[in-house]
């Protein structure tokens, strides 16, 4: 028994060492990198260590229309890389056969730091998130068992699963882990704002932008917290409840009246490209959003405490905040070739 314990101790030590080695070896291109000064990721990479083959498979799946029941739409149909993985000009997206959903498709990036998913936070793990668009009748309307049959019938996919998982059988956990390897690799941390914070060339701010940053930090950053520009929380930001869906947001998950009309605090990174705004896409332009926060707040019982005191920004100040928000656009992220439609093999 003591011998066994000794062995176990050595095994643990060795595995810790192997983990460190794996981390160091993982600095290949496309692998996850924790940007300087950022918090540790929430995603447990040890449960799904990314590989180049796994990310490549995840990318194929992300852009694969065969994931929808009638093979008409892919994940990218509503999450376009050029728009920071949102759906341009769509308040809510249309899924299979033109069926409309009820919420605005969010951008997909920096998901390693997300503690929950969906506008209502109903999903607790990045790997489980795709089950919603896959199976929802207004989105891809595809059940898992026939999808597994479809992918297993494809020699090309069996080969890709073999390269990613050393086994050609397509299973639910492999499908979901491959998708997560790709989506967790979508990192945006190289905007002009990031260069400004890191004191790098290209990070020069104008006086307007500097004043915008100051105003942002004084008025917005308690919820849209740097560096992720979200606090991963939920809030009622004073939108008049929509008469069409009467979407109660977070309360549909928690069942608590206090959570009524609360929605995820979204990141503001790449906000220049992620129009329309809010969970139902009601605002087309950023200046509409600023007008909402300054003069449009609807006071209800669950309104966020931060918004109970009016936010006062005059016209010039609003322009400065807008100028600052545009520094959050990350061109390297938008054009990263590893994130685009996969080249033919």
């Amino acid at each position: 028994m003591p011998a066994a314990k000794q062995l176990l101790r050595w095994a643990l030590l060795l595995s810790a060492w192997a983990g460190v080695c794996a981390y160091n070896l993982a600095s290949e291109s496309g692998a996850f990198v924790q940007p300087l000064g950022w918090p540790a990721p929430v995603y447990r990479f040890q449960d799904n260590p990314g590989t180049a083959a796994g990310r490549e498979l995840g990318r194929r799946l992300f852009y694969e229309p065969a994931l929808s029941r009638d093979s008409s739409i892919s994940c990218a149909s509503c999450h376009s890389p050029a728009m920071a993985f949102t759906h341009a000009d769509h308040r809510v997206s249309h899924g299979m056969a033109g069926r409309l959903g009820t919420r605005n498709a969010p951008g997909l990036f920096n998901l390693a730091w997300a503690t929950s998913f969906q506008w209502d936070g109903g999903v607790n793990h990045l790997e489980m998130q795709p089950l919603n668009p896959l199976t929802h009748p207004a989105e891809m309307d595809m059940a898992l068992p026939p999808l597994l049959v479809r992918l297993n019938a494809s020699g090309a996919y069996r080969g890709r699963f073999y390269r990613a998982f050393a086994d050609s059988v397509v299973t639910t956990p492999r499908l979901l882990k491959a998708l997560a390897q790709f989506t967790v690799s979508l990192e945006s941390a190289n905007s002009r704002y990031d260069k400004y914070v890191r004191h790098e060339p290209g990070g020069e701010f104008s006086d307007l932008e500097l004043n915008g940053l100051r105003l942002f930090r004084a008025n917005c950053a308690s919820c849209h917290r740097e560096p992720l520009f979200t606090n991963n929380g939920f809030a009622n930001n004073g939108l008049l409840p929509d008469s069409i869906y009467n979407d109660q947001g977070r309360a549909t998950i928690t069942g608590r009246a206090a959570d009524c009309y609360q929605f995820r605090v979204p990141t503001l990174r790449n906000i220049e490209l992620t129009s329309p705004y809010m969970h139902d896409g009601r605002f087309q332009r950023l200046r509409d959003v600023l007008r909402h926060y300054t003069t449009g707040i609807h006071t209800g019982p669950t309104l966020a405490a931060e918004l109970r005191k009016p936010l006062v920004l005059n016209g010039d100040e609003q322009k400065d905040v807008l100028a600052f928000l545009l520094t959050l656009t990350d061109r390297d992220f938008l054009t990263n070739s590893a994130y685009q439609y996969p080249p033919s093999e």
Partner: protein, 249 residues
């Protein structure tokens, strides 16, 4: 890297071998736990409108599925055996790819005193991300919109129910307080079956339904207070079956 992992696996294997041989008395002889779905005294037949509960008659059961998890055996001499990775999807549909038999090859021989098990998936598995086997979300026991496993499903119909298609449906899930619908039960093992290496765990749907006002509570499919009531009722359906003793033996 591959080499390191191989060394690691080798050490794990060596440690496991050493530990298993260093165990004392009661080496594994195995035990089989057989789940028997019944309605009253008779085997449960799906979609057969012949059952009765309370004021409902011509009741039909169309689906009974649940997760049987964390199986623990306690022996008369004080030892315990906990099945590793203990997650079993029990599905009474004869066409389902699910077994009603839980094999416990690692269980030691000896006189059993208690069987402990849970209905429902533990919180660790509920937050672990994508899992396979009986916990595969493709098995139809996972909620996408509100992450988490459905711990048990019971569906059926009765002509007296004033619901769409006269149906009732219980999908109980939820792994967080205050609506944690996982239930753990401990059953005493009768002396007559304590040493046979085989236990028959009966799941009597009649006991589950008798504990519920179905007409008033016909549809529970989200984690809420009603789901807690349904989960309590579900936990009442289990008992260990003792075969009748034949004279002359």
């Amino acid at each position: 890297m591959v080499l390191f992992l191989d060394i690691f696996n080798f050490f794990l294997l060596a440690a496991r071998l050493l530990m298993s041989t260093s165990e004392g008395p009661g080496r594994p002889s195995g035990l089989v736990l057989r789940v028997e779905p019944v309605f009253g005294a008779a085997p449960l037949v799906l979609n057969s409108p012949t059952y009765q509960t309370g004021k409902l008659n011509k009741l039909a059961i169309s689906r009974l599925r649940f997760y049987l998890t964390t199986v623990v055996l306690r022996y008369a001499d004080g030892r315990t055996y906990a099945e590793p990775a203990s997650h079993h999807l029990i599905d009474t549909d004869p066409e389902a790819m699910a077994s009603l038999t839980v094999a416990l090859p690692g269980a030691p021989a000896g006189k059993l005193r208690y069987l402990t098990f849970s209905v429902g998936v533990d919180s660790a598995a509920n937050v672990a991300g994508a899992l396979g086997g009986d916990l595969d979300p493709a098995r139809g026991m996972y909620w996408a919109w509100h992450s988490g496993y459905v711990n048990a499903k019971l569906e059926g119909s009765a002509p007296q129910l004033a619901t769409p298609h006269h149906e009732f449906a219980y999908h109980i899930g939820g792994f967080r307080a205050p609506f944690n619908t996982r239930r753990t039960m401990t059953l005493a093992v009768p002396a007559s079956i304590a040493t046979g290496g085989r236990l028959v765990l009966r799941a009597d749907v009649a006991r589950w339904l008798d504990a519920l006002p179905i007409a008033q509570l016909a549809d529970v499919q989200i984690p809420n207070a009603a789901a807690m009531t349904v989960a309590d009722a579900c936990s009442r359906m289990f008992y260990l079956y003792e075969p009748p003793v034949h004279a002359g033996r």
